[in-house]
Amino acid sequence: MASAVGVAAQVDWDVPEQTGLWQDAWVRFRRNKLAVAGLTLVVALVIIALGARLPATPGGLWKILHLTGDPFQQNVINTLAAPTFQHPMGTDILGRDVLARVLYGSSISLSIGIIVQFLILTIGGSVGMAAGYFGGRMDNLLMRFTDIMYAFPDLLLVLVFVAAFGPSFWSIFIAIGITNWVGLARLVRGQVLSIKEKEYVEAAIMTGSSPIKLILKHLLPNSLGPVIVSLTFGIPAAIFTEAALSFLGIGIRPPEPSWGVMIEDGYAAIFADPSLVIFPGIAVALTMLSFTFIGDGLRDALDPRMRR
């Protein structure tokens, strides 16, 4: 016994420096250049969007953050102008500054894309958690319902829903929320089912943890990684849905400059001035691409199997 301890003490254990999951993930995330570029663009857009929405109180913070001109200011003498120094992206049919509108539009796309994920997390997370945790009849019932929602083409349901509750920011918001939770619910259920079999959960049950503690301390943190990745990929999907609805004329109403609305407006004058479609089009695509890159980066960073 004593000699064994002595041997162990002599061995120079090569213990790597202890790092937490999040610290580790951040290190791996930073290695992915595309993901970092995407994150940079998104952070910049968030700042611009906040600045565009700040109430007009000249001076101080407003002066720093309010980078854009007035997206609603019409100028009927200077319509469909080519890009100049004053209007770097030109002006639209009503002489409004396209750059101001594109920047202002980011606030709509970003807020729908990001905030709706909380709704998806609430619905999908609780359905999946309940189905996986309680199992049995509850699982059966919830999963049959999920299957039905899955068979519904989501854009179809979103269209009907938005028609039902009128085209507004909040009805689009809720419509995306109640159609896009299905994937997350399935993911969470699968996670819970696999984690439930793990030894440490059995140990926790045996030592008499309450179900609430079990869920909060074991199930939630251990299924967090894939859930975060899934939610990140949900952001471009939600941005797409909003833009598509607005483009079809059922979403955000003009004159509010959502990117979808701008593309619809530009489509009417596409042969007169294609740039009216090009700029908001690039804006949507670039934003969605950034979130996709972030999602890719997070997926690689948060996967524990990738840890050395």
């Binding site: 068979a151 179809l156 695509a285 969605m288 979130f291």
Partner: protein, 307 residues
């Protein structure tokens, strides 16, 4: 499948009648209350909602989807059959093209991992997967119609829409809509094929196949492709759903008088029976497609048994 369709009717029905306004609202001139009342009686809209619902389900079970509320005297099924050829032609041509192109891109990318071909295929797939299809469509119009027209001095342009001839896959009108509709699912299939092929290439039996000196073509066709296509077949169901939802937007962009476009208009005009009929048609198609995929699965993967 039947319970799914039943719930699809139920959800759509409840939501639709939640909508403010009705099918008789007209911009400008209002119909007199007596006329509205008569119209409601004629189309059974005066009955209580549950009765209307069961009547519709009963009719739908007998393939009677009622009359359109906005095109008087026209059956919903007649109207759907009229626009069906356009949607069908577009969807079928896209589907036939996208599956081999997507699989081909994915396999090539996987076989030459980390080569230029791989990077460009993955780059293409990532960018198209996160560009909204209406943006793709409009950029194509700018490039192929506007750009081509200016390049050739106004002598040639690609038609930006209008009536494609039904059931004819070889026509200029289809080029841009097909690319627009197919870009996203092609990228999706390519990514999926690439990752599953990469996984198969690392399997022991593939190494054995190389080791016993099989020709590369045989290894790929017989050992790699056959196994790496299993997840791709599963994805054909969602791909089909992509095509369905894509058709709303693509038909609007290119002014194709198909089902997707008529659905968007019937939502705007609160044409209850048309909305229900179209939803039911699409949901039924998708359910059917998923069923076909499930059956195909048994043939491809001997490990799966129908129980």
């Amino acid at each position: 499948m039947i319970p799914v369709l039943f719930f699809v009717i139920l959800i759509t029905f409840v939501l639709m009648h939640q909508a403010p306004g009705g099918p008789w609202d007209r911009e400008g001139r209002q119909l007199s209350p007596a006329v509205v009342n008569n119209l409601n009686i004629k189309y059974g809209l005066d009955k209580p909602l549950p009765t209307q619902f069961w009547l519709y389900v009963w009719g739908a079970a007998h393939f009677d989807f009622g009359d359109s509320l906005q095109s008087p005297g026209q059956h919903v099924s007649t109207l759907l059959l009229e626009s069906w050829p356009y949607t069908m032609t577009l969807g079928a041509v896209t589907f036939v093209l996208l599956v081999p192109i997507g699989i081909g891109l994915g396999v090539i990318a996987a076989m030459r991992q980390n080569s230029i071909a791989d990077y460009s295929a993955i780059g293409f797939a990532t960018v198209t997967a996160s560009t909204p299809n209406f943006v793709v469509g409009l950029f194509l119009i700018i490039l192929l119609s506007l750009g081509l027209n200016r390049l050739t001095g106004g002598t040639f342009y690609l038609p930006t829409g209008g009536l494609p001839e039904p059931y004819n896959p070889f026509q200029l009108q289809l080029i841009m809509p097909v690319i627009t509709l197919g870009a996203l699912p092609t990228a999706f299939i390519a990514r999926l094929t690439r990752s599953s092929t990469l996984e198969t290439l690392r399997q022991d039996y593939v190494r054995t196949a190389w080791a016993k000196g099989l020709k590369p073509r045989l290894v790929v066709m017989r050992h790699v492709l056959k196994n790496s296509l299993i997840p791709v077949v599963t994805a054909l169901g969602p791909t089909f759903a992509f095509l369905v939802t894509g058709s709303f937007i693509v038909e609007t962009v290119f002014a194709i008088p198909g089902i997707g476009r008529s659905f968007v208009t019937s939502i705007e005009s609160r044409d209850y029976t048309m909305i229900l009929g179209t939803t039911l048609l699409y949901a039924g198609l998708i359910a059917l497609m998923n069923l076909v995929v499930d059956v195909l699965y048994v043939f491809i993967d001997p490990r799966v048994r129908l129980t």
